[in-house]
């Protein structure tokens, strides 16, 4: 036990003295969370729009003002022809244009029916889709207030597909995603590099010629990284609650428990990589290719897995981050209990057992 403790202390000194890496380890998740939370969100804020109001009546002015006043849009300018709209789009100045036809209010009041045209810059289809939805919902709001005290309902056609769906709010899906990503990076990549470093520096040679059991050496090496990743999780959760306003709806302890489980999965992956790699560079590259990219692509937090062709969907099932992402989303965002995530948890446990088993079996008690 004393051996084990001195080993952990030694490993901690390595991490502590390598300040540059330590700073990266601590700050990377913070910066990623802030980046994804604020800068790179799918959520659209203050998108520039143009309004082409051909009717210029009471109703269109009111709708225009409501759209311009919402936090999703900011009015760049009023335009006076379709050519003008086209030109503004081509300059890349706006993402959405709202066109009111002639006699909008007259039509609405007399035929109880009017139309609004929304033109969006579809070069970014996701944003375009979202913008039209936002605009539509604002128009629907207006319509609803209009109809409140009227017997014959007025209708303004813009198809209502979606009112605001909180699941689409950027930070909601990024927080679990970044948690998965950071744990993979810190645990798997850093431990595999740390183990391979001992091989590369030749220190593995002398610590193997000692009474310490080889696999214990590896376990002792992983523990400080477990600690660092717990620190990361705490940072991410604090940031998401207090800075990004993403609440932890479900049980915090369940969330922490699942995170520890995923950390162990990642650690066993890291040990597996270190078994095969001979140099730190190989370990780093192998981690990047086999952990980082699949986590980014297949966990579902950047690209929806359901939209992928089926071979990729099958591949995504072996990516541990996918299951962790589902678990965190269910607990943290939807507030569901363990009974809703036991299947995913079981899959993660199974993966961990298999990975640990393989890495123990393949672990080299000798140099070659």
């Amino acid at each position: 036990m004393k051996q084990f403790l001195i080993f952990i202390k030694k490993e901690w000194l390595h991490i502590w003295r390598d300040r540059r890496t330590l700073v990266i380890l601590i700050w990377m998740p913070v910066i990623q969370i802030l980046l994804y939370g604020f800068a790179l969100t799918n959520e659209v804020k203050n998108s520039k729009i143009a309004i082409y109001d051909q009717s210029r009546d009471e109703a269109t002015t009111l709708i225009s003002n409501q759209i311009a006043a919402s936090r999703y849009f900011s009015l760049l300018k009023n335009v006076y022809s379709y050519d003008d709209i086209g030109a503004t789009f081509r300059q890349g100045k706006i993402r959405l244009a709202v066109v009111f036809p002639r006699n909008f209010r007259y039509d609405l009041l007399h035929t109880n029916h009017a139309q609004i045209q929304l033109i969006a810059d579809a070069s970014d289809p996701n944003t375009a889709n979202m913008l039209t939805n936002y605009a539509t919902s604002i128009i629907n709001d207006y319509q609803a207030t209009l109809n409140r005290d009227v017997a014959m309902p007025y209708s303004i056609t813009t198809q209502t597909r979606m009112l605001y769906n909180p699941e689409l709010k950027g930070a909601y899906s990024f927080v679990p995603g970044v948690m998965a990503l950071v744990l993979m990076l810190v645990c798997a990549m850093m431990t595999s590099i740390a183990i391979v470093k001992e091989k590369e520096m030749g220190t593995m040679e002398i610590i193997l010629v000692s009474p310490m059991k080889p696999f214990r050496i590896i376990i002792a090496k992983t523990i400080p990284y477990l600690f660092v990743s717990m620190l990361n999780i705490a940072c991410i959760l604090l940031l998401s609650v207090f800075v990004l306003d993403v609440p932890i709806v479900g049980s915090l302890w369940l969330l922490i428990g699942e995170s520890i489980l995923f950390t162990v999965t990642a650690l066993s992956l890291g040990i597996l990589i270190s078994n095969g790699a001979k140099t730190q560079r190989t370990a780093q590259f192998a981690s990047m290719m086999s952990l980082f990219l699949p986590t980014l692509l297949f966990s579902g937090f950047l690209f929806p897995v359901e939209n992928m062709p089926w071979p990729l969907q099958v591949i995504s099932n072996v990516v541990p981050a996918k299951w962790y992402y589902i678990i965190v989303k269910n607990i943290m965002i939807k507030g569901l209990g363990f009974s809703y995530v036991w299947k995913e948890t079981l899959i993660l446990v199974g993966m961990t057992v298999v990975l640990l088993g393989i890495s123990i079996k393949n672990f080299k008690i000798r140099l070659a």
């Binding site: 004393k2 051996q3 001195i6 080993f7 030694k10 000194l13 390595h14 003295r17 390598d18 520096m201 030749g202 220190t203 040679e205 002398i206 610590i207 193997l208 010629v209 000692s210 009474p211 310490m212 008690i365 000798r366 140099l367 070659a368």
Partner: protein, 306 residues
Amino acid sequence: MQAIVVDNIVMKYKVKKSVTDALKGISFAVEKGEIFGIIGPDGAGKTSLFRILTTLLLADSGNASVDGFDVIKDYKEIRNRVGYMPGKFSLYQDLTIQENLEFFASLFGTSIEENYDLVKEIYVQIEPFKTRRAGQLSGGMKQKLALCCALIHKPSVLFLDEPTTGVDAVSRKEFWEMLHRLKIQGITILVSTPYMDEAGLCDRVALMQKGTLLSVNTPKGIVGEFNKPLWAIKATEMFRLLNEVKADPSVESCYPFGQLHHVVFKSSSDGKEKLEQIAQKGIFKEVEISSIEPNIEDCFMALMKV
């Protein structure tokens, strides 16, 4: 019981499709409390042998035991009781002297205080710098620290793979003095070195070349095996002299040795007169010829030829 027994060890490395024989059936035994030197140039197979004996590599065939324990079956026992200092400096560069020593002491379930007397003489030399990180030490200090770390658990057998390579002459001398003091404590020491002059400091040596042992004997015994007269010659144009002497049919071998060329004749009847003839024929100036006692390196050169 012998401390180390090596019996017909064969070790092959496969690099792509070609197979290199690192050790071609080596056998020797080391007595308890002996300083046993493995002398040989780079690539002789010294490090492979050390790694097999420290249970880090598996030999392709043959048996070996350390302290009576088999290197394959009882590897855990061996790892408990030997000290190993690899050829490459292999301590933690980002830990201080004291932290390194503490780590290795605890790793073997002991403490610095418990075995301080064993490392004291070496450790006092580096103790003033004990808060300095190992990566910032000089070559000699690194070696001393590495030796301390290999010794701190009071090993019964100490494996030192080229401990003096890259260390200055004074430190080398000190290092060997330390080994002799350790020997008095009853520790068996297997040490490898590419320096022939260190062979004389061992109790027994094995001369090693390309995976085979040329000879195993005491340093005196090895010199005694050299049974032909040895001559030294010196003149102004040393390089031309070397070629001229080599070209003579009566000469068995001639090789440069410091300021001189060492010459061995095929027949013991040839000697000073023959060398003078060669020198006269080549019109060399300031010729000096003398009869000399062979040293280990001469023996090594002679054994290599066989």
